[in-house]
């Protein structure tokens, strides 16, 4: 199954908010994915197996470069939410 990492400062607050909203969206689209929430401080490239990483905070450069990282900030502010959903859908459906 495709893996979505949700990353924020604590792995608690904003990442949980992302999970609820993204899950709702994916349910609607009928896309299945596994969710994992992490703290940004525990993101080391060698341990990441995600298909897509959605983060509410900026990510270290070595992760930006090697993985598909989408900013989840619009899901918190409500400005540009659809673009984020579209990007996630694209990342999870393309081979």
């Amino acid at each position: 199954m495709k893996q979505v990492y949700l990353v924020c400062a604590t792995g608690i607050a904003t990442s949980s908010m992302l999970r609820i909203k993204i899950q709702d969206f994916l349910d609607e689209k009928g896309i299945e994915a596994e969710f994992f929430t992490y703290r940004v401080a525990e993101m080391f490239p060698e341990r990441i197996t995600a298909d897509v990483i959605v983060a509410t905070t900026s990510m270290p450069p070595e992760i930006q470069e090697n993985f598909k990282v989408i900013s989840g900030l619009p899901l918190l502010t409500g400005v540009g939410e659809q673009d984020v959903f579209d990007a996630i859908e694209k990342a999870l459906t393309e081979k």
Binding site: C8, A9, T14, T37, R39, A41, T57, L73, G78
Partner: protein, 462 residues
Amino acid sequence: MEAIFTSIGELLNSLGPLIVLPVVITILGLILGMKLTQALRSGLTLAIAFVGIFLTVGLLGEKMAAIGSAFAERTGTGLDVIDIGWPAASALAFGTPVGNAIIPLGIVINILLIFLGITKTLDVDIWNFWHQAFIGAIVTFITGSFALGLTAAALNVVAALWLADWSQPLIERYFKLPGISFPHLQSAGYMFLAAPFALLLNKIPFLRKLHLDPDTIRKRIGILGEPIFLGLFIGVILAALAGQSLTDIILTGINVGAVMLLIPRMVGILMEGLTPVADAARKFMQKKAQGREIYIGLDSAVLIGSPAVIASGLLMIPVEIGMALLLAPLGNRTLPFIDLADGVFVTAMLAPLVAGDVLLTVILGGIVMGIGMIFTTLLAPAVTNMVATAGSIDIPAGYNQYTVMSDAAIPHSYIFYYIFQSPVVIALILSAVVLAVHFILSKKFVLGKVLFAEAEPKEKKK
């Protein structure tokens, strides 16, 4: 009037958060336009999260307290007040009568201030109103008055909005986040205290030459960024110094790791319940504020991915422990514990003050937490009372055992703690003065425009 408030406070207290919060959240959800089942699900999820949180806070109970005391005695440090950490504190604060009322109150105050044109920040991060609830709970504890607690919380909602306006241009420039501000006391409050020190530190060029590289620090001690390892590490050292047997040392390490992982997981369930309501609140507020130029107020967690913030946040672990020991002769009894995992909230909004220099950020963090730690001990009775009222740990009467290092060290927590020690009229006048200072800062001394206008970000941006 006071009598009405007192009886409301008493009623809320006797029903407890498991009953009151789901009702408040469900009604709030309905007012904000959610469907009944959705609103009910949110309320119920919240109540269930509370059951989980109280269960896991219980892990910090008798045994942890015994080890804390043994540690304090055997090492002669006197650090016997245990830091229960912000995740537990957030639930405890929402569980108090002020906490039950804080979300609707905060939304109403914020919209009012936007309409009056005296703030630009629309705080859609209703979760973090718990910091104001925490202050309100402390004031209720000192004054015995629910109305005064609510007043203090309301005043701090306003203060946080003005701090967000005040810091916005500097934060925007440093983090490249346009249109967003941070009315989050757990970071903005520290920034408020650190700003004058930062002005001084920036004048000492020598310090800036000792450049600490964020990436190296992260690679060396990054493992402490993982709660289970940090928990194991702290638990083992604590139990060893407390002279426990080998099995107890290992067990304590595992238990502390469990606390560090499990309480936040439970708080995650709380967030799950709150998210749909927060979303509805955001839409409602944004609709009300339509056509105005606003900043969207978010959790400072958003800032924490910056390498300088992570590195300095990790370095806060030894700094906070060192500060606690150093300040023990001056009356500190706080044993830094669960909140060691979240030094990044201390450094998030300090880094921009010193253009992202790791050493200077850590120095600022040390100053702020050092000053704060004196007060975390003084606020312990109020926190212990919150823990005792929640009923998940039995605490012998008159025995102060718990505090919250992060929140009790926020200047606003202890400033209002002191203000409300005075008679009511004087307390209200002093509060007005504190608020006036915030207002003047936000209008006349904007960070990044008037103050710190020249400090250029040094950190490389992607």
